[in-house]
């Protein structure tokens, strides 16, 4: 049991995909303009990574080592297509604001990386723990980035239309740079430096 907790923790802390390994940066930066988008992206990654890890862990003994990468990619691409189409059908607004970044989950290094480095070598339950830990780590990073960007860029914080914080003064004159793409670089760069300063994340 302890081992699962370790695998789970590993994804959140020591090898947090975004904040430590710097994997999956494209979606983390691109969709983090609002908390809603960040959560939507996390949900999509959760589905794909969880099922990719489950499937690959189950069939790992049947895949010849030489063709494993193409097999992984096809499995991942199929899962991504499922997410993309279901999101277009049931959550059209979210699908529109996430745009091409949903199909691009295929080439998200986190997913192929975990398939190759973890799921193809570990048992089903361990792979599930690893997938969940990775997604929670990804989600925390995305939530942090999108929270700062939304707060400074609009002066308000809201989840799914429910507004729970409004900064007087900032809401009338928001710092638009945080919503612009370069705001994502700024927030993530400062966040990384802050984590290093506090010793949460060690330098390279």
């Amino acid at each position: 049991m302890n081992k699962f907790v370790d695998y789970f923790r590993n994804g959140i802390m020591e090898s947090n995909p975004v904040l430590v390994l710097l994997l999956g940066l494209c979606p983390a930066l691109a969709v983090s303009t609002s908390i809603d988008n960040g959560l939507g992206m996390t949900a999509a990654v959760l589905f794909v990574l969880l099922f990719a890890n489950i499937i690959i862990s189950l069939i790992r003994d049947f895949i010849p080592a030489r063709v494993r990468i193409p097999v992984f990619i096809v499995i991942i691409a199929t899962l991504v297509t499922i997410v993309d189409l279901s999101m277009q059908a049931f959550l059209p607004d979210l699908s529109k604001s996430l745009g091409i970044y949903i199909p691009l989950i295929v080439v998200n290094c986190i997913i192929l990386g975990r398939a190759e480095a973890f799921a193809s070598k570990h048992k089903l339950t361990e792979s599930i723990a690893d997938a969940l830990g990775m997604v929670v780590g990804f989600g925390i990073a995305l939530l942090l980035i999108s929270m700062f960007r939304q707060l400074f860029g609009t002066g308000k914080l809201s989840i799914f239309g429910l507004q729970f914080l409004r900064v007087p003064g900032l809401a009338e004159n928001p710092m638009a740079i945080f919503i612009l793409p370069m705001g994502a670089f700024l927030v993530l760069g400062v966040l990384l430096a802050a984590f290093r300063y506090m010793g949460v994340v060690s330098g390279e």
């Binding site: 691409a77 612009l180 990384l192 430096a193």
Partner: protein, 191 residues
Amino acid sequence: MNNLFSIFIGMALINNFILTRFLGLCPFFGVSKKLSSAVSMGVAVILVMAGASAITWVLFFKVLVPFGVDYMSTVIFILVIASLVQIVEISIRRTNITLYNALGIYLPLITTNCAVLGVTFINARSDFTFVETMASAFGAGVGFTLVLAIMSGIRERLELADIPESFEGVPVAFLVAMMLGMAFLAFGGMV
């Protein structure tokens, strides 16, 4: 002609892949430490982007759409890119060993480079004609190479700079990317 030029400029400078679309960030932060490797990587990406865009355009508009199976595009596109990278790698190794030694290690990385898959999706979703697709692919590749080269030049200089300890390495690269992005904002008025 004018239209082609505006597509090219739009993809290369205004909606630059790295700075405004965040595509291809992994090589951006990984490879951009030396100017020479950044340029090699950029050339490899331009080649694969142009090839992948041409093939996926034909497949998407002549095969997938007429048969009503365009929902397969994600799977098909990634397979096309993966095989194309393999073919390019093998043929460069057979024909030009110097070029292979320069580009070799970057080619497999391109398969999982979201910039290549991204440009094929953008082309398919914008309903471009074939010529427009090629203009957009070249624009995207040139823009990617340009920013990669600028970034590597800056990072070579940064090696000598006195940076606060917690900002060393990647964090300061992010801040440089932010400033480059602000500079590229000025291109917004061009088209």
